[in-house]
Point group: C2
Amino acid sequence: MNLSPLVQSFVLHFGEMGSRWGINRTVGQIYALLYVSEKPLNADEIAESLSFSRSNVSMGLKELESWRLVRLQHFPGDRREYFSTPDDVWAIFKTLAEERKKREVEPTLTMLRGAIMETPASDAERHAQQRMKEMHQLIELVTTWFSDIQHMDVETLQRLMKLGSQVQKILQFTHSLSKLTSRDGDRE
Amino acid sequence: MNLSPLVQSFVLHFGEMGSRWGINRTVGQIYALLYVSEKPLNADEIAESLSFSRSNVSMGLKELESWRLVRLQHFPGDRREYFSTPDDVWAIFKTLAEERKKREVEPTLTMLRGAIMETPASDAERHAQQRMKEMHQLIELVTTWFSDIQHMDVETLQRLMKLGSQVQKILQFTHSLSKLTSRDGDRE
DNA sequence: CTCAATTTTCAGGAATTTCTGAAACTTTGA
DNA sequence: TCAAAGTTTCAGAAATTCCTGAAAATTGAG
């Protein structure tokens, strides 16, 4: 199969960016190819299009499966497995965010929680622990917020995003509102 | 200098995570060490603490400078350069997000914009281009939203995050409000 | 069950990235 | 201007990661 110039540049770009995104060239290119492909592709087609060895493609697809970024399907009368990416870009985005969270931040949170539990044995440790607490607090806040947001339906999410920094105004409004109505509005 | 166990495990963790975050072991460890250190450290102290060669530390610090994650300072009567991380974790987070955006998404946006401009030469290209448009739109929306949010002051940002998915309710409220007051409230 | 089609595994070669020591460069104080 | 203190550069060694071909394992039709 011969890739058209447009597709080719897209595929090559994903290959090159791969290393920055923590995946390798093969995986990046395979994903890009599947993403723009009109129909699902089998491993041989992928290997041929990208000039990778069949085994390399197999490993790349396994990696993509572990990221839950590809879907697998079969066609009647054909034993080969066909791969594609979900159509809904929002779903893709959410999956990606979840996986990155699991791989890139969860382990750190665990480590931080452990470290914060320890009894500091020196002044230096006390200070270090304080810094870790600050980091932990921030990560915790940001990630739970993220998962909150992820569970919103796409409609609302888009509206929120389009609103941009204007949320600030609504927030200020409701904040002063709560100050008016609540007995201890300026606590916090 | 001898690292206390608490600091050591923190430093080692950052070293190991380094590769997942797109930086290397040295850079990860140096950053971690500076982050928990009570006072700024010079390159020799870092090299000794982490048992890296002096030159490796130099390259690592350069890398961290390019990420704008370390500050450089001097002490009177000492010609050596001392390094530290900003105290404010929110500032750190913002810097990190900006840099990652610059390195990991901006190039892709540029590529996508270019590809979308082209005139498709086939059916496959037409489809590919459509997919690229979807991706472009999503990335554009998410990143501009992100930079909107970044420009909010930390107070507001924290309030927004603590609110979590409850924004949804406020949003729904204001949405129906605008429907009531605006002549064409259900356009979008 | 058998066999051919297909996929996966894996040892080791290729490519890339990281790290070091030596040398070059820069800065500053005398 | 020079020398000492400090920093950066860079060639190549070391370590790691990627990729391949061959072989093993799996799958499903007959």
